[in-house]
Amino acid sequence: MTLLRLRTLSKTFEREPVLDAVSLDVEEGSILCLLGPSGCGKTTLLRIIAGLEIPDTGTVYFDDRDMATVAPHLRNFGMMFQEFALFPHKNVLGNITFGLKMQKRPRREIRARAKEMLSLVGLEGYARRNVSELSGGERQRVALARTLAPNPRLVLLDEPLGALDKALRERLLLEMRDILKKVGVTTIFVTHDQTEAFAIADTVVVMDRGRIEQTDTPENLYAHPATASVALFLGFHNLVRGRIEAAGTMSTDLGILRLAEHGVPTGRDVMALIRPDGARIREASDQPDEGKTIISGVVKNCLFKGRNYHLELQTGTGQVLAFDISNESRPADPGQLIELILSPEAVVVMTDSLVEPFT
């Protein structure tokens, strides 16, 4: 069932458009992740859902009800902020019970619920601790417990791990996913970190410049970025422009590229990305094979990275492509002219890409 329905939400801050006609459906019980670079509008979208910002146009429907007239404190949504926004004048218990007290629940129930929450996030015995005595990870857990305690119908998480260091982030990420799934609450999660998004989300929504670029499962998103900006954001920089041809190929400045299965009609101008891990250096012993895509160029750089070599290749058109080459092959020297063999799966046609100027 669709719990949250966003329709053509737009917002402008000081004449800068931040959101541009965003529409989105969120299924009940799912974890949805808004992913994008900073300034893409993802936090604004989250704050509009929370009711902390008012959209210029568009509507938020929750449970088929227009939320425009519902004040944030009456929505019963939970929200976890960047840096957590724990109340410094209250201890752990005071923070966790704040929402329950606002709902005027009976004291016994509040105590029981707080205890339940503390054990859910693994902080038994921390009730009387001062917030300033907690480590970053403990603060994050208190913030999560505080958000979940009043039983919100929707949980909004704004970069909930952004304030923590990397090692801690990875551990807490899995822990948080487990907790959210155990509670079964519908969750919208905002992050600029794709590993976070992939690890936690059922559905990832990539945003750029106030628009939704692609909505997909993490696996599909990674395998088939729909637009150039999604590809670039996911770290794929080998982008080429070309035209789809009949025989399962694409003609580009680099030459004819063989393609795997794709659904794009013949004759369309599209962008494609070349996966960095889909190439190997052509050895002298290789058979001169008809069915292979071969690109040649001058080695700009070849760095040993342990598991592989990071190779930068300057092609005849001047474009620089980057590849991760298996460390089993012989390294190439800068300045050397080499040929790479691309597998058809390495070339991904981006279905939504209207051709934009890229270099």
Binding site: E14, A50, L52, A71, P72, H73, L74, R75, N76, F77, G78, M79, F81, Q82, E83, A85, F87, P88, H89, F98, G99, M102, Q103, S132, R146, T147, P150, L156
Partner: protein, 548 residues
């Protein structure tokens, strides 16, 4: 050590020696230890009444200031609007104005001959002024709110703007209405800074002198005013000394509590960049709050000063320069021996001497404090600041009982006034220069020395150019403080060499339109000088943030 010697010697002679004399006079009025006067003082109902009045008027002033200024603190902390920085600077001007100017401004607005009464009398054909505030407590309270508005704005507003806006939003998301979130989250977090700001306002009102002397009339007296009356009018020096002792004890007690409180306010609020916590007033509620506050600021802070200027240019029914012209003359019935314009000359002269002395003493003290990392420096730092914690009236009184006979007879010396001003002003030089000196890398001075520069050359060619701006700030501070100083000057200035604030005080105390008008004209001039000095300092502070 020689560097510290000069400021310490100055402090010993012109601060501790007079203070000692006050102690001696209150404990041993006849040369032997006698607690009769002190005991007599404490047991009289008059004394208790004075102390009680001092306390309750200060408390009431503080509460009123808090009520009026807290919404303003919200506006400056949370909203972004055009002209905000300018408005913030302007609201601070009352705080730096000399007390006589403030008193004159309230006379100009609401006094018997003030703008409002004149308009009402003309408009409704009344015979007597309808608003009778002169010599009432309301006049005093209004002036105190006027004075201290910016203290609340700066301290509470500062803490408020450093508070994460996500804290109240988190409360909202947990089901707290905006009002509940304010009560349960914002207010508790602001409480320490509200306490600190209130205490500071209370201290200022507790030692209020000029405002009460002029606006309160004979009916009201704080301890400070009573010291002045006992010393100058009744000439009961032991009584004045005993009162000074009480005043000193209270001020030190309050300031000690304040320092303690201030140390506590700097915790618990996670810093956040200003841009995020401040928003444009887009909601109707915020627009109303902004509009109401700007109106209050204009009415409370703007109209008295505007009235002052209007009155200084109004003679009879229209615009006139007669009062400004009269400042240049010396009519026979004048209460001075000299034309009033000479008071301006004396003021400027005194201020320049005080500026030079403050710079010498302040720079030496700051240099010493920045070089020594020893315990001596950490002990001397608060010692150098002590004059700030002592009311000008007690200092002035100390001067007249200590420095009028051998070994140090400066009673007739023209230097007595600038010396008193120096004592009040040099701590500001130290506070301006010390951070600049401390932030200067030691290696700069050391490389100059290794390149063959003598200590004096190093100072002139390396240190001075680098801290030049801080020195200018200290100098402007010293000048503006000296030119507006009233509490100490009223004791130590000789009748032939009055300063501008003294002249205003005397003009206000005399009947007649000409005297009144001249008070307005002089106050306007003094207001312009002080406001200009302050705005100059603000401009420097804004353009190079982080050094103060």
């Amino acid at each position: 050590m020689l560097i510290a010697g000069i400021p310490l010697g100055f402090l010993a002679v012109f601060y501790f020696y007079p203070l000692m004399k006050i102690f001696a006079l209150s404990f041993m009025p006849e040369g032997t230890l006698s607690l009769v006067d002190l005991h007599g003082l404490v047991s009289t109902s008059y004394y208790l009444k004075t102390l009680w009045f001092t306390t309750w008027q200060a408390a009431l002033s503080t509460i009123l200031t808090l009520v009026v200024a807290l919404p303003g603190a919200y506006v400056f902390a949370r909203l972004r609007f055009p002209g905000k920085t300018l408005l913030q600077s302007l609201t601070a001007i009352p705080f730096v104005l000399p007390s006589v100017v403030v008193a004159a401004a309230f006379h100009a607005l609401l006094g018997p001959n003030g703008v409002v009464n004149t308009w009402l009398m003309n408009g409704f054909g009344l015979e007597t002024p309808p608003i009778q505030l002169n010599h009432t407590i309301w006049f005093i309270l209004m002036a105190h709110v006027f004075y201290n508005y910016t203290v609340i704005i700066r301290i509470v507003g500062g803490a408020w703007s450093r508070m994460q806006s996500s804290l109240t939003e988190a409360a909202n998301m947990l089901g707290a209405s905006p009002w509940t979130a304010f009560r349960k989250v914002t207010l508790p977090l602001l409480f320490p800074s509200i306490c600190a700001a209130s205490l500071l306002v209370f201290i200022f009102c507790f030692s209020s002198f000029g405002v009460i002397l002029i606006l309160g009339g004979p009916r009201y007296a704080t301890i400070e005013v009573e010291i002045y009356r006992q010393a100058v009018h009744i000439f009961n020096l032991p009584m004045a000394a005993a009162l000074s002792l009480v005043q000193i004890c209270f001020t030190f007690l309050f300031l000690w509590v304040y320092t303690w409180l201030q140390r506590r306010t700097t915790v618990a609020l996670y810093p956040e960049s200003r841009r995020i916590t401040q928003k444009r007033p887009t909601t109707i509620r915020d627009r109303c709050i902004l509009g109401a506050n700007i109106t209050i600021m204009a009415l409370l802070l703007g109209t008295p000063l505007l009235a002052l200027v209007i009155q200084s240019f109004t003679a009879g029914d229209g615009f006139s320069l007669v009062f400004y012209r009269a400042l240049l003359e010396n009519p026979s019935q004048s209460i001075f021996f000299i034309p009033p314009v000479q008071a301006i000359g004396y003021s400027i002269g005194f201020a320049l001497i005080a500026l030079i002395l403050s710079l010498i003493i302040g720079l030496l003290a700051a240099t010493f404090l920045s070089q020594e990392k020893s315990r001596a420096a950490s002990l001397l730092d608060p010692l150098f600041m002590l004059p700030l914690a002592t009311s000008a009236v007690t200092l002035g009184f100390g001067y007249i009982i200590a420095l009028d006979k051998p070994p140090l007879n400066l009673r007739t010396s023209i230097l007595l006034v600038p010396l008193a001003h120096t004592l009040v002003a040099y701590p500001f030089v130290v506070r301006s220069v010390l951070p600049a000196l401390r932030s200067m890398p030691k290696s700069l001075r050391e490389s100059a020395v290794l390149l063959g520069a003598s200590p004096v050359q190093t100072w002139i060619h390396v240190v001075m150019p680098i801290i030049r701006r801080a020195i200018i700030v200290g100098a402007v501070f010293a000048f503006t403080i000296s030119i507006g100083e009233f509490g100490a000057t009223v004791f130590v200035a000789r009748p032939q060499t009055p300063t501008i604030p003294l002249a205003i005080y005397r003009f206000l105390g005399q009947p007649g339109a000409l005297n009144y008008g001249q008070a307005m004209a002089m106050s306007t001039l003094l207001m312009l000088v002080t406001a200009a000095g302050f705005l100059f300092l603000e401009k420097i502070r804004m353009s190079h943030e982080g050094e103060f």
